[in-house]
Point group: C2
Chain length 401, copies 2
């Protein structure tokens, strides 16, 4: 098998951890696998470098910030190679750029455009364990770039896709993806298998183990992803194209997002294109609109509700100021929470939504907004009911069973 493994910051957070990881890699190698290992910076290291950079400027030069930050992962990669060599296993480390990761020239948030696998394959043929610094690549212009948040996961998935690896294992300090946040519902269970689309919708549940960009790329290149805990030998969560189990549950998990604010425009005038214009304005200002719900109000006027990130509410208010005469009233509410019910099984089952609404109603939780997709129901509730809503939905869909 060709195995790509990726170890996050806490997994390589100390010399002792790197030593432990080396043993884990050797165990896998000895099972007759070819191995490529992608590593993050040692935990704390990226922040240390960032602090240095921000000493000089609130907005350090982006090209130079990339050069600076990329060194964190390179240190880990060579230390891991030293550890493996010391344990008598051939290992070579490479920066992302030297390993063949070509990116766009968008510093701090580059996109992977191509992975040239010639060098990696050559070194694998020589029986090396190939260690690659994550989070980075090189642009056509010859500049070192970094890939933004969760970039090391993305490096691993892109490499696994390009190499047609049999599996891409993402190691963190948690066991996998849970049916909901165990801090909210202690009965939450680890999910054994989940498909890409579900994982994407459960972003908030997976945030600690896997960034959405990586799941999207895994989906695009059909990479078999697996998230595991580097601190134990538990099985983790497999993220794949299609779940093979016939009787998979209707609902896979309940996600909670408290970072949104609700904007309600009541009685929007029936003027062609006004709503499109509003959202174009927000888009131009880089305001990220999440849920959008439109209903018919009185007098043929429409009611339009949408959510934005709390942090972007002020600029949203500013942007909407000159449109106040286009609607009867506008309301803003920061104290809301988005609870999402996600499951590929919804496609073929009826009554999933109504079960959930009933469960919330039984707890006297008022539903402020609803939007649905094929595999997700998102419900906005008062923030104070957030945890209760998660627990009652987790229970009604029998995720604790």
């Amino acid at each position: 098998m060709l195995v790509v493994q990726k170890y996050g910051g806490t997994s390589v957070g100390s010399i002792e951890r790197i030593d432990a990881i080396a043993d884990r890699i050797i165990k896998c190698k000895n099972e007759n696998n070819k191995m490529v290992v992608v590593v993050s910076a040692m935990s704390g290291e990226t922040n240390r470098l960032l602090e240095y950079g921000h000493h000089f400027s609130e907005h350090p030069d982006k090209r130079e910030l990339d050069a600076l930050l990329s060194s964190g992962e390179r240190v880990t990669s060579s230390l891991l190679a030293i550890a493996l060599n010391a344990k008598n296993h051939k290992a070579v480390s490479f920066s992302g750029g030297l390993a063949g990761i070509k990116t766009s020239n968008h510093h701090n948030n580059a996109k992977i455009e191509e992975v040239d696998t010639a060098l990696i394959n050559g070194r694998l043929e020589e029986n090396n364990i190939v260690i690659i610094a994550g989070f980075q690549g090189v642009s056509k212009e010859g500049n070192i770039t970094t890939l933004g948040r969760g970039g090391s996961d993305l490096s691993a998935v892109a490499i696994a896709g390009a190499l047609k690896a049999d599996i891409c294992e993402i190691y963190t300090d948690v066991d996998g993806v849970y049916t909901t946040d165990p801090r909210i519902e202690p009965k939450a269970k680890k999910i054994d298998t989940i498909c890409y689309d579900e994982m994407l919708e459960l972003a908030s549940l997976g945030a600690k183990v896997l960034q959405s960009r990586s799941v999207e790329m895994a989906k695009k290149f059909s990479v078999n992803l697996c998230t595991r805990n580097s601190f134990n030998d538990n099985i983790g969560t497999m993220i794949i194209k299609e779940r093979k189990d016939m009787e998979h549950p209707i609902v896979s998990g309940i996600a909670l997002d408290k970072s949104q604010a609700r904007v309600s425009m009541i009685g929007v005038k029936d003027k062609p294109g006004i709503i499109a214009e509003l959202f174009t304005i927000l888009g131009d200002k880089n305001i990220n609109v999440d849920m959008i719900v439109q209903t018919v109000g009185h007098d043929g006027k429409a009611n339009v509700d949408f959510t934005v990130l709390n942090g972007e509410l002020a600029s949203t208010k500013e942007a909407l100021k000159k449109y106040h005469e286009e609607f009867d009233n506008i309301e803003y509410d920061e104290d809301i929470a988005k609870v999402s019910v996600v499951g590929i099984g919804m496609k073929s089952h009826t009554g999933v939504a109504s079960n959930g609404f009933t469960a919330l109603s039984d707890e006297n939780i008022n539903i402020l907004m609803v939007s649905t997709s094929e595999i997700k129901i998102s419900i906005i509730v008062d923030e104070k009911y957030a945890e209760l809503a998660v627990r009652s939905l987790h229970s009604v869909y029998e995720l604790d069973k």
Copy 2:
């Protein structure tokens, strides 16, 4: 003017120091100079990385150690570029390899084979301050290499030579090269100008400011070198091909080296090739022989004295064991010191040596060994007289005037 500056570890040892260095660079840039700046790792950083690497192995894999250590200089280079950009001066940083420094593939101690100046020149044309990580390059095989002790100085001189820079300024935390070690002779004076050959002979005096390899390379490519203190605006020491001052002093400085041990082979048999054989044996064992003095003894036998590093005395004894019957007696003495009188002016002056011998004799210091070259007299004395010998020679050659 095209100015190459190099800043050592203490000069860039903190965020505040990097900030100060940025101001110094800008001042030079504003005097209408093109600038290339070579930087070392922040002081302490290389040792931190080395400690990490040595945790896994007493002898970490050399390729990986190079990849690891090279990150120290890269961090400094991007931080300095961030600082300069924040101060509204265009600056770009490069690793040694990306900057065009091609080396041999001898990890941990690579030789610079070529400096491809195309990229540097291009960036200078765009009015950038070009920052280059010192101490490193890349081999034809595509591996990151490091240049060994004093490697950043070597990077700077090689780049200055390749660019035909007008001057190469080496910044440390001392003012320059002194006529002797001021801790031994408080009357020691800073030398304003010195030529390459003198500097090479005064290696021990210059050790804190400049490695011999850099001086050799400066000599080879006729680079005008200057060592300066980054903590003040003093003038420093110019190291050039030939001193222009007609009336330069006969002696430039007095160097002291306590790291040597003396080996005296008394009554070496008159057997062709035996002495060559002895030194070949030592060379094969990588024992570095410094002074060699041969005199005619009694019965046509020769006396051969030589010095080796204290640390290599044990292996020297071991190597000579089976030759003991080739000479009447052999003596070893670790408690010696080598005092060297250096000056290009000696070439054209007589009586320089005898003045020195008289000065030592006046202090009742016994001379154990002497060897002379065109510009240097090296004298071995008992270690307990070392400082007194330095002071009396410093005085007799009027270096305190």
